[in-house]
Amino acid sequence: MAAEELGPLPAGRHGYSREQVAHHQRERLIAGLAEAVAEKGYAAVTLSDIVRHAKVSRRVFYANFERKEQCFLAAFEVVVAHLRELVAEAAAGVDGWPQQAITALRVTLAFLASEPDLARLCLLESRTAGPAVIARFNEAVAELAPALARGRAERPEGARLPESTEDSTLGSLISLAQRKVAANEAEQLTTILSDGAELILLPYLGSVEASRLTRAI
């Protein structure tokens, strides 16, 4: 994700289309923002920081984004889209809702642990980035609710679970992960896998089965 990894944009006549260059520039800006946020926190990040890390001009920034909040949202979207792909790919080969749920959590935590700066950006910095970002964060979490709600079909008791079950389960999961990142332990996010999985499974499978499945992790 670092701007360095993307390499310098070739100068002069390079055979890239205008669209390709624009796409690269946007990616560089997103990576630049992620680096700047990792360095000093979103609140303190200025436009100059972003373009310096991205190695592009301010003009290029304004051609892509109106303000830093939009650039943050774009960075957030990149991570969300990537996670969605990772989870879909991993869960495709897994049978049954409980194991799919565990797999989704495992893949998500593993990715965030391998990219601690992005984990921080998404889980913590997003809370400081203003109402639009907070709203988008909450929306992204709410998008997970239907996948969770499939657990209601696992047992007859699932039919009478309160409406807010998915909401409160996702909220406690987010809180568990946020706390880990806030303690500067983002790299160890995978250690919350079994506790997190138990939280997810508990309402849908009951405590005995939830604990049996998560003990085996």
Binding site: R127, G130, A135, D167, G171, Q178, V181, A182, L199
Partner: protein, 226 residues
């Protein structure tokens, strides 16, 4: 915020130090209320000092007399709001003499009432102050940890208590904070009562099992509709 002794001596005869304190307290209250309203509406980063003083109907000099900057006012707001909420919730827990489940129900009821009564301040605490790496987050976290302790005795009711995750109480409280924050952001502070039974069920389930948790929630739902 009483005046220094030297200053007090210079006060004109007849002036009451008490009223001076009261005036200062009123100024602080107005500043914090304005801060809460503005931040709840537009977020912390977008809220300016200028907007706060205008809304609080105080001058810049008055603002600076109490707080050095916007962050200080926000922190004072978080302090006051969390202290108030923790006191209400712990008080309700202590006053309830029934079994632990009922005490948690009373505490949660007090929390919901407090949030519904002060939605702007609650939004500042539950949503704006959850970002980490800053002082507000630390205050939020401290309050949450304190309230999480009220859940601890529930472990005694679970035959598998040794296997319960260590972070369970704080994680459950985090879930409640999340749900309340969602509802506040959706402008549904007025509809919180309906959410109380299911949130109680969510909190009790890991300790007493699903059937007992559902039964307790049902009792609370009946009490609300009665």
């Amino acid at each position: 915020m009483r005046a220094l002794p030297g200053k007090e001596n210079r006060q004109p005869p007849g002036a009451e130090p008490v009223s001076r304190d009261a005036a200062a307290a009123d100024q602080r209250r107005r500043i914090l209320e304005a801060t809460a309203e503005l931040i709840a509406k537009q977020g912390y980063p977008e809220t300016t000092m200028e907007e706060i003083v205008r809304r609080a109907k105080v001058g810049y000099a008055t603002f600076y007399k109490h707080y050095p900057d916007k962050e200080a006012a926000f922190l004072a707001l978080i302090d006051a709001a969390t202290a108030h909420t923790v006191e209400r919730v712990e008080g309700a827990y202590k006053r309830e003499e029934g079994p632990w489940q009922d005490r948690v129900g009373a505490a949660l009821g007090a929390l919901f009432e407090d949030v519904a009564a002060h939605p702007d301040a609650a939004r500042c605490v539950l949503v704006e102050a959850t970002a980490a790496g800053n002082e507000a987050a630390a205050k939020h976290e401290a309050a949450l940890k304190r309230l999480a302790k009220l859940l601890q005795p529930g472990r005694e009711l679970n035959p598998r208590q040794a296997q319960l995750p260590e972070s369970l109480e704080e994680t459950l409280c985090g879930g409640v904070v999340w749900v309340l924050g969602q509802r506040l952001m959706a402008g549904e502070a007025g509809k919180l009562r309906a959410l109380l039974p299911e949130t109680l069920e969510f909190l009790l389930r890991p300790y007493v099992g699903e059937q007992e948790a559902a039964r307790e929630a049902g009792e609370v739902a009946d009490a609300i509709s009665a």
